[in-house]
């Protein structure tokens, strides 16, 4: 696989580290509800097909990217910086 890092360009997957499901939203830092934390830390949709996930450009810019990748075909349909994603959801 290759991932088109928005900061560095297209790079081999070996430069990146997979960092899990990007649809999981961490509860508010001061949230005390263990159920919410349990869901965040342990529970996964684990979809067969489109998956939004974090990849860390470990041997590159060290940014976290949000990659949309198909878990059946490994085809990547989009890559964006986490920052851009946050901006998008804020709008």
């Amino acid at each position: 696989m290759q991932i088109d890092c928005p900061f560095c360009g297209k790079r081999d997957q070996s430069e990146f580290t997979y960092s899990g499901d990007a649809t999981k939203k961490r509860p508010d830092h001061n949230d005390q509800d263990p159920q919410a934390w349990f869901d965040y830390v342990y529970q996964r949709d684990n979809p067969k097909g489109a998956h939004q996930e974090y990849w860390h450009h470990t041997s590159g810019c060290r940014q976290f990217l949000v990659v949309e990748r198909n878990t059946m075909t490994h085809k990547i349909s989009s890559v964006q910086a986490v920052g851009d994603l946050n901006k998008g959801s804020a709008e």
């Binding site: 696989m1 290759q2 081999d12 509800d33 934390w37 974090y54 940014q63």
Partner: protein, 965 residues
């Protein structure tokens, strides 16, 4: 069989080689197979199961039979195909899977037992009454199986890896691939053309077929010359593109020097692993001929019709004196024409069909062929060489070569590896590539375009004029009914049509079950010439159309590739980078015994003459408590945390409070994972208002950095904080012991080392000569101690100057062992206690549990995390004055020391010179409530155990008075 070499090639360079100990002559450009055929050698190996004599079946990487062992010095290269092995002067090869010789093989007796050795027989027997029986049989079965013998000596060859990027990758340099390369090259694209053979040109090599007014061979040479003139074209002969991976990434192995003599190859890379990444991909992988099944179709001398043609065209070698051809299609007539053009006679053609196409009729006419129509070969006769074939009309034809063509199977391995389902095509009676989900196109024979004009036009050279050629005209008959002889579908694995029938009878219906039960298609050739015929047999048995029988998925590699090449040479000393501190040489010069700590290499002990490791660490640790010692701590992880929100960030990351740490002070911190378990610990120093230097354990340095980056990048982007690893930028040492202050006071300037000016946990800048250093008054050893850090390039000088300054105090360098002793005496935790399963409370760090919210807090309160039966950190003291072994288990009674219920385990152990006792740290179930109790540290692996007393983990100077002086 009595093959011979056509005499026209007089200019060829002779090459001398050895096969099974006998010396033969071949010529430059020969494969071992062509050279053996030219020398009249028919018997090359023995089959896997029945040890039947086998010869040369094909002329390429699809070869099921002719695998040999290549000997270079004391290194062996087993299972090498004679059909692809290029000969060189001094080549030595031998037959495999036979004893004492290929001519007389004792295990051929297996053939007599073949009625028992049917598909799946071993699942039904060799069981006995206990597992020991199978272990007995297995030993013998393993010896009988296994094909070639491998070396035990290390491979002395060199390998390397290369990344290759291009616009267009073309796999296969036959007419289609070469045409495509020319077309693409003209557009200026970066083109890579790879082919597994030494010579590019595919079916056109040696061809007399007329193309654009010249013979095929001449034409293809001209095109290759043309390609060489393009700067944007890279030709990769002898390169097997073995696998198709995601995003148009391909794995390939280039055989750089396998074809060279041992002296020529010396110092050269043997094979190169290529990782090819291409925007566009053109697969022109061709097609493989497949045989027709009949009785004893494995006899040496029975070969693919196209192979007969290739030996003649490419190598000028005729495999036999009396050649009969057997076919169900027209492609064979083109081969016959090629042979005819070189005056190689064909004794007869056995054709399953009743009529001839115009093309075939013309060939018949021109070469005066004797053709049997509506005829079939039912059996081959011969042992180690073919003697004759018997036809379905009862007639016997003497011959030494039978060329067989059952049609062509497109080579769609790469396409299929991606998961694209092959599609069965009735007109060619084989499979075509399915819908691709990656960006590639298939052209030429691999997509079923078997005629040359189609290959050229699909490659973009539609205008090139080609002489008439035959269509396939295949009659779908692949399996000849016969009552005598074994019909082998998979030659290498000795899988017969009867095995397939038996598998069906026993309910192994799915193609995958068939493959696994019979081992069909699982040999080194992966059933390249067998799979389609197997499906034909199965479809007949199940009375289902072939499309409903299913296919198995092709798996990489297309053809076997060496493990050495795949490693790219990154093994042995190149396996992983070695991280050395700037003081490395000093340590070596001073007797250090080094030890790996992750990727780092650190001094374990500095041995003096006659000392054991134990002697050395006891001396070193005692020296620290008595006077002063120094230890290299460069390998600790170091992260700068910068920005106005850095205190807030640290406050969220660590369990304890960080908001009020003053500038110039350090603090110990504990951080958790989100699941509430302890992740790492270390000190973090506030260097400036908005600038902190965090230290981590050596082992977790990278993980902690990633953890922090994730939190900042993903969770709290609003925090104005940046983190960066500075592990490589700083060299560090700890100087510990009652005289540490005196040493530093002597060596450093621009700093007041007094207790008042430089209190515990303070961090200050200083100068060591010209070297700028940071000094932090921290103690892992429990002594008055300091860490001194400087830019890495001064590391050696810093160490050496402080060592010199410490001479008056008999300063003692110490290693990781003494470091361990000192921290165990103090009950400080390290790697063995930070095992990823412990909580803050487990490790007796409850004092660091902040009231505020921090990462991991919510889940740290779950029932299981606060269960009173959890393992808790305690100290152990030997009651028997002997060493407590690390890794011991804790049990409650002496009766349980060999079999019992574990109450925990010993994590870290040492002899304590300060206490004169053997002590340990341990994690013990509900341990904090067992202080004072006697339990047993047991080590069943060595049948040892001893009574130990559970004590608090802080053995030495529990109130910490020594480090505060």
């Amino acid at each position: 069989m009595s093959g011979y070499r056509l005499t026209s090639d007089t200019g060829a360079t002779p090459v001398s080689f050895k096969f099974n100990g006998k010396t033969y002559q071949g010529v430059q450009g020969d494969t071992l197979a062509s050279a053996l055929l030219a020398n009249g050698v028919t018997l090359v190996g023995r089959s896997f199961k029945y040890h039947r004599p086998r010869g040369i079946f094909s002329a390429g990487s699809e070869e099921p039979n002719a695998a040999v062992n290549v000997v270079r010095g004391d290194e062996l290269e087993p299972n090498t195909l004679a059909t692809t092995l290029e000969i060189y002067n001094g080549l030595e090869a031998k037959s495999q899977n036979c004893w004492p010789s290929v001519d007389f093989d004792v295990n051929a007796i297996n053939s007599l037992l073949s009625p028992i050795f049917v598909a799946g027989f071993y699942y039904k027997t060799f069981m006995g009454t206990s597992n020991k029986h199978w272990m007995f049989f297995e030993k013998h079965i393993r010896k009988a199986a296994g094909m070639g013998e491998a070396s035990v000596t290390a491979d002395s060859s060199r390998y390397e890896k290369q990344n290759v990027f291009c616009d267009v990758l073309i796999v296969g340099a036959g007419p289609a691939g070469i045409s495509a390369a020319l077309t693409q090259a003209a557009t200026g694209a970066r083109v890579v053309l790879a082919d597994e053979n030494a010579q590019m040109g595919g079916a056109l090599i040696g061809s007399t077929q007329e193309i654009a007014g010249q013979d095929g061979d001449g034409w293809v040479r001209e095109q290759l010359e043309k390609l060489k003139t393009f700067d944007n074209v890279k030709l990769l002969p002898r390169t097997t593109v073995y696998g198709y991976y995601d995003n148009n990434t391909f794995g390939a192995v280039e055989r750089v020097s396998d074809h060279l003599t041992t002296s020529e190859a010396k110092g050269k890379i043997r094979q190169r692993h290529l990782v090819l990444k291409s925007k566009k991909v053109i697969l022109a992988t061709g097609a493989l001929e497949r045989p027709i099944l009949f009785g004893d179709n494995d006899r040496p001398g029975v070969m693919l019709a196209s192979a007969v043609g290739k030996y003649v065209k490419r190598y000028g070698v005729v495999p036999g004196r009396e050649i009969v051809m057997f076919t169900n299609n027209d492609s064979i007539y083109q081969e016959i024409a090629e042979l005819g053009a070189r005056n190689v006679p064909i004794k007869a053609v056995v054709d399953l069909r009743d009529t001839l196409s115009d093309y075939a009729a013309a060939v018949k006419e021109k070469y005066n062929l004797r053709i049997y129509h509506n005829a079939a070969v039912v059996r081959a006769v011969g042992g180690k060489a073919l003697k004759s074939v018997i036809l379905n009309n009862g007639e016997t034809l003497t011959c030494d070569v039978l060329g067989v063509s059952g049609g062509w199977t497109p080579t769609i391995h790469l396409q299929s590896q991606q998961g694209d389902k092959p599609v069965y095509d009735e007109t060619i009676c084989s499979f075509l590539p399915g819908m691709g989900h990656q960006d590639y196109v298939s052209i030429g024979a691999c997509k079923g375009s078997f005629d040359l004009s189609a290959c050229l036009s699909e490659g973009g050279l539609a205008e090139v004029r080609v002489e008439d050629e035959p269509s396939l005209n295949i009659l779908p008959v692949f399996d000849i009914e016969t009552t005598k002889g074994k019909k082998f579908v998979d030659l290498q694995h000795d899988v017969k049509t009867s095995d397939i029938k038996l598998a069906k009878q026993e309910g192994f219906l799915s193609v995958e079950h068939l493959k696994r039960y019979t081992t069909l298609g699982m040999a080194n050739d992966q059933g390249k010439t067998a799979n389609v015929n197997a499906l034909v047999v199965m479809s007949k048995e199940r009375q289902l159309p072939i499309t409903e029988v299913g296919t198995t998925r092709f798996r990489p590699p297309y053809a076997p590739v060496s493990i050495g090449a795949l490693s790219g040479g990154e093994y042995g000393e190149h396996f992983r980078p070695t991280r050395r501190t700037p003081m490395h040489e000093w340590h070596l010069d001073h007797g250090a015994e080094m030890i790996n700590a992750g990727a780092w290499v650190r001094p374990r002990v500095y041995k003096k003459a006659g000392e054991t490791v134990t002697d050395a660490y006891i001396r070193e640790a005692a020296a620290v408590r008595e006077s002063v010692g120094m230890v290299d701590v460069t390998s600790l992880g170091k992260i700068e945390v910068i920005g106005p929100d850095a205190p807030e960030f640290l406050n969220r990351v660590y369990t304890n409070a960080w908001l009020k740490l003053p500038v110039g002070k350090a603090r110990y911190g504990v951080m958790l994972r989100e699941d509430g378990h302890v992740f790492d610990d270390g000190t973090t120093w506030r260097l400036e208002e908005n600038r902190f230097l965090m230290t981590t354990t050596t082992a977790n340095a990278a993980n902690v950095l990633t953890h922090l980056e994730f939190l900042l990048d993903v969770i709290w982007p609003e925090l104005k904080v940046k983190v960066v690893s500075v592990t490589e930028q700083w060299a560090g040492l700890a100087i510990a012991g009652p005289n540490s202050r005196a040493v530093l006071a002597k060596a450093l300037h621009d700093v007041d080392m007094s207790n008042e000016a430089f209190p515990f946990m303070a961090v200050q800048d200083a100068k060591l000569g010209d070297i700028p250093v940071k000094v932090a008054r921290l103690s892992f050893s429990g002594e008055l101690a300091y860490e001194v850090w400087c830019p890495s390039h001064y590391g050696y000088a810093m160490w050496d100057q402080l060592y010199q300054a410490g001479q008056d105090f008999n300063i003692t360098p110490y290693g990781t062992e003494a470091l361990g002793t000192l921290r165990i005496e103090k009950g400080h935790i390290s790697g063995p206690e930070l095992d990823g399963r412990t909580t803050v409370d487990d490790l007796d760090l409850g004092w660091a549990w902040g009231k505020k919210d921090f990462v991991g807090k919510p889940l740290a309160g779950r029932d299981g995390m606060v269960d009173e039966d959890r393992l808790k950190l305690v100290g152990l003291v030997s009651k028997e004055e002997k060493a407590i072994r690390p890794g011991s288990q804790i049990v409650l009674s002496n009766a349980e020391t060999t079999l019992g219920v574990s109450q925990g385990h010993v994590t870290s152990t040492t002899y304590s010179p300060a206490l004169g006792k053997y002590i340990a740290l341990a994690l013990v179930k509900n341990g904090r409530n067992k202080i004072g109790e006697t339990v047993y540290a047991t080590y069943p692996l060595k049948n040892e155990s001893q009574a130990v007393e559970i004590v608090k983990p802080h053995f030495f100077d529990p109130d910490g008075s020594r480090m505060h002086v």
